[in-house]
């Protein structure tokens, strides 16, 4: 049976990552550093530790994801692999979807390792419905990666691509960041209902996944 195209791309990215572990190692250490730096800057022993833990987690994930996203397409530039992708019969959307799924898996691994550390560092115990985190965090991660992977492909041709990605990703990502932080904070504090923010994240994801899949063709063949 023929495997779908995006599955082939995903398997290839996972295999490369399994052999080098570049992205996961660098992201993990980077996220850890961000968490430690924010903790030192904000003094987490005080009573507002619970309030700042959700923003710190989201920002750490965002920064770590950006550091890895810069590499995700640079890998394809070596030996003109990107040109090979352009000539291959596989649709552009499949290449994009494979990349997003691979990055999503990497970042999810980081989050799974980071979560227990967070509980220890910030002495957390969630007061709301913890299971909702399984909905809010993946949705928020997807919102970073769908736009991040797209803009990384977009900025790959610029003179200073490492700098450009955060410059265009952060403003577009802001509403999702707001929703992600508020949803996680609501779950951790148990004071308000996170369902509104989960819906915002869901609609953000649906809208931008659609636009990205529709416009990725244009980006991949922008030179023609």
């Amino acid at each position: 049976m023929k495997r779908p195209y995006f599955w082939v791309h995903l398997a290839k990215d996972l295999r490369i990552e399994w052999r080098s572990r570049d992205a996961i190692n660098s992201m993990l250490f980077f996220a850890l550093l961000v968490v430690v730096i924010f903790s030192l800057a904000f003094d987490p022993t005080r009573s507002f530790a619970r309030q700042i833990s959700a923003p710190v987690l989201c920002v750490a994930i965002l920064f770590a994801a950006v550091s890895a996203l810069n590499q995700t397409w640079a890998r394809e530039l070596r030996h003109n692999v990107l040109d090979a992708h352009r000539m291959s019969p596989s649709p552009a959307g499949a290449l994009f979807l494979g990349k997003v799924l691979a990055n999503f898996l990497f970042v999810s691994v980081i989050e799974l390792i980071l979560a227990p550390l967070f509980v220890i560092f910030y002495n957390l115990h969630a007061l709301g419905n913890v299971w909702l985190l399984l909905l809010a965090v993946p949705l928020g991660t997807w919102s970073i990666l769908i736009n991040g992977t797209f803009f990384a492909a977009l900025s790959i041709r610029s003179r200073n691509r490492e700098l450009l990605l955060p410059l265009i990703l952060f403003p577009i990502f802001m509403p999702a960041l707001l929703a992600m932080v508020l949803a996680i904070a609501a779950i951790l504090s148990g004071e308000s209902d996170p369902s509104l923010w989960i819906k915002v994240l869901l609609s953000y994801d649906v809208i931008f996944t659609t636009i990205s899949l529709l416009l990725f063709d244009t980006i991949l063949y922008a030179e023609d």
């Binding site: 977009l154 410059l167 403003p171 577009i172 509403p175 915002v200 636009i211 980006i219 030179e223």
Partner: protein
């Protein structure tokens, strides 16, 4: 064309001068705010200008994407207009935020509050500055395509930003400001608003037309340089 532009510039100045006269001396001061309310006649037109030029930017970006392989001449014109309208929108946005901030300092005692509308405009401003930066960091035909794609992303983000900041602030109502300063404007004040609205939008069109012709010239110079480079090789 040149004569027309001079005439347009003269008309713009005349309308702006009359707008200033009507706003400052003719219409009555606000019952609650006094003369402070007159900044409204400069604040509101800048938002209208921003809305017009960001929408124009989206339309031109879509036109560019649709025509870039079929009709290159029109596509390049659309791209030049997309760039200049984004620049103009950013300027209007800045004017709107500045006048709003001055008003806020006098009326609420603070320069800035993280209210839904203020946050939305700030994010909007950041998105379009990022758009202008992208245009600076890349070059050639692909830059135009990438910028047009980013314009679509930016515009799609605006309603989400607005709704999310509104829900964010509705959950924790801000103590200083709820509702709007201009909920229901007295009909006697409308002439000032109309004159300034017309004047500032004419001003925007004037600047955009100047920037547009400069941009078209830059495009031509680039093309000429590219052809010359080919001939040498």
């Amino acid at each position: 064309m040149k004569v027309f532009r001079w005439l347009w510039a003269a008309a713009t100045l005349a309308v702006l001068a009359n707008g200033f006269r009507v706003a400052m001396y003719v219409v009555p001061a606000d019952r609650d705010q006094g003369d402070l309310s007159r900044i409204l006649y400069y604040h509101v037109p800048s938002w209208c200008g921003m809305a017009i030029f960001f929408a124009l930017n989206l339309i031109c970006s879509i036109v560019y994407l649709a025509l870039r392989n079929r009709n290159k001449v029109i596509a390049l014109k659309a791209d030049a207009l997309a760039l200049t309208s984004a620049e103009m929108g950013v300027v209007y946005c800045l004017i709107g935020m500045t006048t709003g901030s001055i008003w806020g300092r006098a009326a609420w005692g603070i320069w800035w509050t993280w209210d839904a509308r203020l946050t939305t405009t700030l994010v909007l401003w950041l998105i379009y500055v990022a758009y202008l930066l992208l245009r600076r960091f890349t070059s050639g035909a692909e830059m135009r395509t990438l910028a047009a794609v980013l314009a679509i992303f930016g515009y799609a983000d605006v309603p989400i930003v607005y709704m999310s900041t509104r829900w964010w602030r509705t959950q924790h109502p801000s103590p200083v400001f709820f509702g709007g300063p201009n909920s229901g404007l007295d009909p006697s004040m409308l002439p000032a608003l109309f004159w300034n609205m017309a004047g500032w939008i004419m001003w925007g069109i004037l600047i955009v037309s100047l920037r547009y012709s400069a941009e078209i010239r830059a495009q031509r110079a680039q093309e000429k340089a590219a052809v010359a480079a080919l001939e040498v090789a």
